[in-house]
């Protein structure tokens, strides 16, 4: 069994092996510790001098990595907790995302910023958030989020080695210990894979997976989820089918921005109903954008639309409160039942 953590760690090792311009900057990334979540374990031993252990200076590290990227290297930055991406906002928005366009396409910024995101570990209000929605819709910034379904290592590898544009790579913490599931090998589902064609930049390398229950009647609801929420949505899809005979399709994008809606629309045209699931807070978020685009494209063809998201409170430390604040399989099942 390969876990998502293994896959990401192996992808980093392979990227370091493949390209000597790959460097890693982060806090507490040296062995034997190997990073707070161990994603970088072994790198500093195997590639001394290419893992740069940094002081607690997220903005500084990110800016330095951007300078390295502008000058021909392919740096990877680890931000220890996703909550700390607020500290790199100016670097991301006013520098990194803008350079290529602002400098009239004369430069490239091959930079990957990885960060563990999300709750359910009791870390409390400042170490449990899902904040990537802050960075969705920033022109020039690609936001990727692997789930355990698909090829998380391959996604990271391509972001590091092949993408000449800056990438914010969101790793939900609860994914780390889940086994990687190849869509083609999933027992209950039939998977199709699509790649978004994006305005002005051609195909994205980041796939979107659409899972349909094998041998089931036509789906009545399209579920859309990414990251760890894709795993919860997968469990909800099975419960809805076996316990309530509500059949769904599950669309799992791995590229959150820039966002291409086509795979969602294709499924929703079949089902007529759309339910988005995200771990970020409810208002003004990712699900809202997907619903808006679906309404624009489908009009009255969209018979019902709903969102499941986190409650609009800081993520509580107490386990019982945290469970209530964040979306669960039960939330998804109950919301879906109201839609049919």
């Amino acid at each position: 069994m390969t876990t998502v953590l293994d896959a990401l760690n192996q992808a980093l090792h392979a990227a370091f092996q493949a390209d000597e311009t790959v460097f890693l900057l982060g806090e507490d990334v040296l062995d034997p510790y190997g990073g707070a979540f161990k994603v970088t374990r072994g790198l500093s031993t195997a590639y001394p001098g290419r893992v740069l252990p940094a002081p607690i200076s997220e903005a500084g590290i990110t800016g330095i990595a951007a300078g390295m990227a502008l000058r021909g290297l392919r740096p990877v930055v680890e931000i220890m907790f996703g909550d700390f991406i607020t500290l790199i906002a100016d670097q991301l928005v006013n520098h990194i995302a803008k350079f290529r366009w602002m400098y009239n396409d004369q430069v490239r910024v091959p930079l990957v910023i990885r960060t563990p995101m999300g709750g359910r570990r009791g870390y409390g209000p400042t170490h449990s958030q899902t904040l990537e929605k802050i960075y969705l819709g920033v022109p020039g910034l690609r936001v990727l989020a692997p789930s355990s379904i698909g090829d998380p290592g391959g996604l990271l590898s391509r972001a590091i080695l092949e993408d000449d544009n800056p990438v914010l790579f969101i790793e939900n913490k609860l994914l780390y210990l889940l086994p990687v599931q190849h869509p083609a090998g999933m027992e209950e589902f039939e998977a199709t894979e699509s790649k978004a064609e994006l305005l002005g930049e051609g195909d994205s390398y980041a796939p979107t997976f659409t899972l349909a229950l094998g041998g089931a009647p036509p789906a009545a609801i399209t579920l859309v989820a990414y990251g760890y929420m894709a795993e919860l949505a997968r469990q909800a899809a099975l419960r809805l089918a076996y316990e309530f005979e509500i059949f769904t399709e599950l669309v799992i994008p791995t590229q959150l921005a820039p966002f291409e809606i086509e795979a969602v629309l294709a499924s929703t045209r079949r089902s007529g109903r759309l339910l988005t699931i995200e771990e970020g807070t409810f208002s003004l978020g990712w699900g809202a954008e997907i619903l808006a685009r679906s309404v624009e494209a489908l009009g009255s063809g969209l018979r019902a639309a709903r969102r499941v998201a986190a409650l609009e409170v800081p993520v509580p430390a107490s386990g019982i409160l945290e469970l209530q604040a964040l979306p669960s399989v039960e939330h998804i099942v109950q919301t879906a039942k109201k839609m049919v």
């Binding site: 200076s57 300078g67 520098h95 350079f99």
Partner: protein
């Protein structure tokens, strides 16, 4: 290793920046430029002195007040005028405007502070790649208020980045005098991180140049950071017509701190006049050519639709 300065060329460069910036402020009200600008009037000797010592592959990172740095780096006046006019032939095709330039190894950005880690990372990249190049980053006294500057100094020192930090202390940040914004001393801020520093209170290019040359020689000899703190004088407004200083004080600066006068006094009048005629013609021609340059195509924007 420092270049032997040609006094005529230094005068030519200082004057080229002066005439460029005067043209910008002079023509702005007519509407030929668009947006905003921050002129370098009075500080010309800093850019010319420092960048005369830069080696061809060295990297220069500048800020909102970047025209002087760009021209001293060797940038074309016509391309800079065109950028300020939003033309297709501008340095960045009109996308960046006055504050956001990139040409060869020159980069500028209008946000304070964030350029400092960027330049540090560029310097580190050159060191890691073994190119032998160094980075030079210009920042002002106002930027010393940004925390990321100190994150960068810390890491630049820890990781021995080949970088020269040049602080141009013109004693005023937009309208805020440095007494209200900069506590303690500037040089010791660098020294606290183990970065040695030369401090000068001068508008004389022949004082600034050798100091910069010495620091850049040290950086190139053994990659590590250095700082140059230049106490200087801003003659013009922060942007356009927003100078809140007492005009008597500004006049005094113009009388006592003009790098053009200080250096020009060394030159034979005949040669000085010849350079003046040459530069005036060059800047006039650059402005006129830029005026005739085409605008970018709005339909070139991704997602553009015809209204």
């Amino acid at each position: 290793m420092s270049p032997v300065p040609d006094p005529l060329e230094l005068y030519r460069q200082i004057l080229r920046i002066r005439r460029f910036e005067e043209t910008v402020l002079d023509k702005f009200p007519s509407g030929v430029f668009y947006g905003t600008t921050h002129t370098y009037l009075g500080q010309e000797a800093n850019a010319v002195g420092v960048l005369s010592c830069a080696r061809p592959d060295d990297i220069v990172v500048s800020n909102h007040r970047c025209h002087g740095h760009f021209l001293a780096y060797g940038g074309e006046p016509r391309a800079l005028f065109a950028e300020l006019m939003g033309r297709e032939t501008g340095v960045c095709g009109g996308r960046g405007g006055s504050q956001h330039l990139h040409w060869r190894n020159f980069y500028s950005n209008g946000v304070q502070g964030g350029t400092v880690p960027l330049a540090t990372g560029m310097a580190l990249a050159e060191k890691l790649r073994g190119s032998g190049a160094a980075a030079i980053v210009f920042l002002g006294d106002g930027t010393l208020g940004e925390g990321i500057v100190y994150e960068s100094l810390n890491i630049a020192s820890l990781w021995r980045a080949p970088i020269l930090f040049v602080v141009e202390n013109n004693r005023i940040a937009q309208t805020t005098p440095s007494e209200l914004a900069v506590a303690g001393a500037i040089a010791t801020r660098f020294e606290a991180f183990g970065i040695s520093c030369i401090e000068l209170d001068s508008s004389d290019v022949l004082e600034i140049l050798p100091a910069a040359g010495r620091l850049l020689d040290e950086i190139h000899a053994e990659p590590s950071p250095r700082a140059l703190v230049l106490h200087t004088a801003r003659f013009g407004p922060h942007s356009k017509g927003d100078d809140t200083r007492d005009s008597i004080d500004v006049e005094r600066l113009r009388r006592t701190r003009d790098p053009l006068v200080i250096h020009g006094a060394r030159l034979p009048e005949e040669q000085r006049k010849a350079i003046e005629a040459e530069v005036v013609e060059q800047i006039t021609l650059a402005f006129r050519l830029a005026l005739g340059d085409p605008a970018p195509d709005p339909q070139s924007l991704p997602g553009a639709t015809t209204p």
